[in-house]
Symmetry: C2
Subunit: 332 residues, 2 copies
Amino acid sequence: MKKRITMKEIARLANVSQATVSRVINGNPDVNEELAARVLKVIEEVGYVPNQTAQTLKRNQSKLIGVSVSEMYNPYFVELVDHLEDKARKLGYNIILHNSKHNPILEWENIQNFLTRQIDGCVIVPTGSYNLERLSKLPIPVVSITQTVSSLDSVAIDHMKAGKLAAASFIKAGHTSFAYIGKSDDEKYLGFASVLYEHQLPVSDVRVFELEQTSNDNFLVRQGIERHFRQFETFPFTCVFTENDIVALECIKLIEERGLKVPEDISVIGFDDTYLSKIMGISSIHQPIEDMVSTSLELLINRIEEKLSPDIVSIQLEPTLMTRKSSNHRRI
Amino acid sequence: MKKRITMKEIARLANVSQATVSRVINGNPDVNEELAARVLKVIEEVGYVPNQTAQTLKRNQSKLIGVSVSEMYNPYFVELVDHLEDKARKLGYNIILHNSKHNPILEWENIQNFLTRQIDGCVIVPTGSYNLERLSKLPIPVVSITQTVSSLDSVAIDHMKAGKLAAASFIKAGHTSFAYIGKSDDEKYLGFASVLYEHQLPVSDVRVFELEQTSNDNFLVRQGIERHFRQFETFPFTCVFTENDIVALECIKLIEERGLKVPEDISVIGFDDTYLSKIMGISSIHQPIEDMVSTSLELLINRIEEKLSPDIVSIQLEPTLMTRKSSNHRRI
DNA sequence: CTGTTAGCGCTTTCAC
DNA sequence: GTGAAAGCGCTAACAG
């Protein structure tokens, strides 16, 4: 490797001390203008860039943020990463990205790697609860994004509220028989069910379909839904709320392959409001990604700079329902 | 910030010298077993992780690879990033990600930032030719991925061949009138046209539709295609080859909104073979992403380790056509 | 086999 | 205002 130019070299060329070069670079105001100009000129000429590694070592801050997401198949997480990168850069930080692939072991390895890299803080989409305990004991701040967890600072939407929005929308459109595809212990579903309950609708009749795969592999998602749907000659529900947009899309395709129409026969509402739902005209619960990212980063950086009381901060943002073709139909 | 534990501290606790701790960590075989065990025990107990920043400074290698992609909307690039991260990690490297958003200025800023971070090498999806010159003069190796460029090492598919595959497939299915949506100076199109020419089909009649946006915003893609399509009462072509899957998808939607059927009336072949085409049953040119990523990384790392002759390496991989519903129809 | 020492590139007192 | 010097955490000769 060609040797990179160092500050020492700049100092030699500009005929000043290394300390002065450092001062110029860091914008120290009380450097003689002429000297500063000379240094800047040399820097420009040789295309010197400071060695941030050395700065990190000396300053004991890397300006690096670890980002761990649980997957990249769902476009929702991609948008998250993209905004995190962009916003972090604007705040003077870089991100170092890891995909934990829903694997807690890999997640923990990644965290260790982050530590090794001297990251200043970490934004994480947790794989589950497996590492939360250790995560909260890390010597650096950690913010959980998209999931509210009790042991960490977190920024997420109000999932309960999201479920309520979907249910309310279905009820308003005249639906009386419901299905939900996703985990039954998810707050989305609790919110969904609670609204039905409030309207004295038979919550116990809601068809809840649990899937092993809800992303990663569309074929498996499809198979999972199909397995559940196969048990019905005719569907005992007129609307479906799904855990994410990928599931919603596969669900709609399966319904249409039966010769039924969406939304006329069955309405569908997805989750995440990714471009998948936008392209395909699928109604979906919108998560304000940019807000979530800005909020997370602000929170994290405040923690890094130790400006906050030690209490855990838990921020919940408002979901909104984007109604599109797939649920734009009134029953009876 | 809580003070992180250092090697010195481990040395003190294990009652050995710092150098010995270093030897143990780096797996130096000739350390007394008993000592090694003692050191390992302390490391385990206090949860010590080495400071890679210091290692970087000392060893003059960061084990960091810069990755710059031109966008994240097209799922193709996401897959690329995901595999790069995964594969790099397995090779002992981490990636630092930047999105240049098709902006050469931002791209160059990102590169400078990479340099600052002491990356060992860089994998880039160039925004265009704007920075290629400077890129080739960097003190670290750079590999262009997905695009073959003359001034840098590169790994890409044979775009010419890809265009040929699409054309050959259309011709075999009996098509005689063609359209292409994408840049006309793209090798894809050159390959496409060359096959028509070989078959004595009227190349000059091929409808070439250039788009300003081919990703980023589906609505704009849609509008772009629509603007071109609007000029026809009936389409003067029976098949369309598109620059990427997003364009293919929007194209199909617009055709179907006209009451035409895909593939019966018009066949469509996309590009990239992303999950979009898989979900939607769109025929597409497959790029062997994993191969491309492995090859790029191998090449890059060989460069980093200076095991290669200085000649520019240009690797072209084979594209394949994945035939799905959107082009699965034989004319007459 | 193990400890001592120099120094990676930078920032930051501390003198002058 | 500027330079000299110490030291961030680690590795790698060099001695012993």
